[in-house]
């Protein structure tokens, strides 16, 4: 999923400060799974904003909505008919959700309430780990299904640096050394010989492209 975290309350409050009528739009897919921007989180943040306004003697009107997927235009169509009744839209979608709404609603001011962080897996309740940086050239099979681009702090392709200690990363001792994990998995499956050759420099053009990368599939186009 795309993982995200809610911005600090103070930052959200400051970004919508001059506005009275607010439309809050959550997303029921990825950011709901990581408990940042689903229906529940929209409700919680709305209550917090209302309480805060009451405390400060300000008038505020909030409408709550949660779309199935904020990054898909046909779901955003639910927002279109009501959007101009509000001063601002506070989006609890990921960066793609916010930008998709902006594309559909060119005249509406949209403010993000989340910081989008990564492509992640749910490790356990309340723990999400980044797994993928979308490099556009997946070689997980070669690296025993542990991504060095994402999970090694230095993104090394050719074995561990000299800094790991007891399987922990030098940059973040809370993180496991990706290369310790890769080598252990390769040893356990008798595949360490694959590590002897120097893995060539990555083609970062696949990741950086020339600006945003775009997929065009003729077979999917109407």
């Amino acid at each position: 999923m795309i993982s995200a975290e809610r911005k600090p309350f103070g930052e959200i409050k400051a970004s919508i400060r001059p506005h009275r009528k607010i439309l809050m739009v959550g997303c029921a897919t990825c950011v709901a799974e990581c408990a940042a921007g689903g229906e529940k989180e929209v409700g919680l943040l709305a209550s917090q904003l209302r309480l805060d306004a009451v405390k400060e003697g300000r008038e505020i009107e909030i409408k709550e909505m949660t779309l199935d997927r904020q990054c898909v235009y046909e779901f955003i169509d639910q927002v279109t008919p009501v959007a101009d009744q509000y001063d601002v839209i506070l989006s609890l979608g990921c960066g793609a959700g916010v930008q998709a709404m902006a594309e559909v609603l060119p005249k509406i001011h949209i403010v993000p309430a989340l910081n989008t962080t990564s492509i992640a897996e749910t490790r356990e309740a309340g723990v999400w780990l980044e797994d993928c940086r979308g490099c556009g050239d997946c070689k997980l099979d070669y690296f025993a299904d542990i991504c060095p681009v994402t999970r090694c702090a230095k993104g090394l392709f050719n074995g561990p640096c000299g800094g790991s200690k007891e399987g922990r990363c030098e940059a973040d001792p809370d993180a496991q050394c990706a290369w310790q994990l890769i080598i252990t998995r390769l040893e356990e499956t008798g595949r360490t010989a694959s590590m002897d050759e120097v893995y060539p420099p990555a083609n970062w053009a696949r990741k950086q492209g020339k600006g945003p990368r775009k997929i065009v599939r003729e077979d999917q186009r109407a």
Binding site: G155, F157, G159, P160, G162, G163, E170, E187, M195, P201
Partner: protein, 306 residues
């Protein structure tokens, strides 16, 4: 046309001595000159670190040029952390043009550990890929992608290895890979656990790597018991046995430097006897003035061609 003194010393079968020189956190060239004068005649070559631990310092290339003016043979350290492949290859050519004849290629400490923790870590290439790239520039006269150079850089190419890093089972395999990628000399992480280092070297010899690459053992004299404890606990990839910490702790505080020097000299003497070890690399962090004493006590004077 200058040539690498380090390469010449090793080629002549001598036990090499190199030392590390950290550039200042400022623009004064005199600091480098002073450090250089301190080391001249006691070491064959001087490594200049490249923004070590991610702290901004005077550039390694500039410091190397200053040391060269002082008559030393500098080893340009170059990390993959701060520059992409365009800048790295360009600086390799620049270094050679400025008369630098040794280069040491490494990934670099993670940027989060230094004074610019919000920097974007580049790591376009890793140390292995960087080694291969520089080797191809020198031997085949090509840059990445295959374009021909109009002339080739003249450099003796080195890398680092940590015999004490994890996973231990992979350390010698990783060294072999660095040799395959193009390393001609290796400087190791500081050696305090000589037993473990002997095991490492035995494995190196079993694989025949000692014949393919010149290994210089890393030495960092301990200044105090506190430093030993700090390094053991907090410095990435460091292996200081508890017995060694106890030994330096047993000495009164004001004599601990003496004990640190004694330990370093003993280690250097032990390294001289290990087959396949071709020299020592002294990393006396902000304590360069101790280098002459260490080299003298370990009976490594005079330096060949001094």
């Amino acid at each position: 046309m200058s040539e690498s003194r380090l390469k010449k010393v090793l080629g002549g079968g001598h036990f090499a001595v190199t030392a590390e020189c950290g550039p200042p956190k400022g623009a004064d060239p005199e600091v480098i000159r002073k450090k250089g004068r301190l080391l001249a005649g006691y070491v064959d070559s001087v490594n200049v670190t490249d923004n070590q631990t991610g702290v901004v310092r005077l550039s390694s290339l500039a410091a190397c040029v200053i040391l060269r003016e002082e008559g030393l043979d500098p080893v340009l350290q170059m990390v993959a952390r701060d520059r992409n492949r365009i800048a790295l290859q360009s600086d390799v050519l620049g270094a050679s043009a400025l008369g630098i004849r040794n280069i040491l290629l490494l990934s670099g400490d993670h940027q989060s550990l230094g004074n610019q923790p919000e920097a974007k870590g580049v790591f376009d290439l890793d140390s292995m890929q960087l080694l291969q790239t520089v080797r191809q520039m020198r031997d085949k006269g090509i840059v990445l992608g295959g374009d021909q150079l109009s002339s080739m850089p003249d450099l003796f190419i080195g890398a680092v290895e940590n015999p004490f890093g994890d996973p231990r089972s992979y350390r010698v395999a990783r060294l072999a890979k660095k040799v395959r990628a193009g390393a001609e000399f290796i400087q190791t992480q500081c050696i305090y656990n000589i037993t473990r280092f002997r095991e490492f070297m035995a494995e190196v010899r079993d694989r025949g790597l000692d014949g393919k690459v010149a290994i210089l053992g890393g030495i960092t004299p301990l200044k105090s018991a506190r430093m030993a404890e700090y390094m053991a606990k907090s410095v990435a990839g460091m292996d200081i046995p508890p017995e060694l910490i106890d030994r330096i702790k047993a000495v009164p505080a004001k004599e601990q430097r003496r004990e640190g020097i004694k330990i370093a000299v003993e280690t250097m003497e032990a390294l001289k006897e290990i087959k396949g070890v071709r020299g020592v690399h002294i990393m006396a962090i902000e304590w360069e003035e101790v280098v002459p004493e260490l080299v003298e006590k370990a009976e490594l004077l005079p330096r060949p061609g001094g």
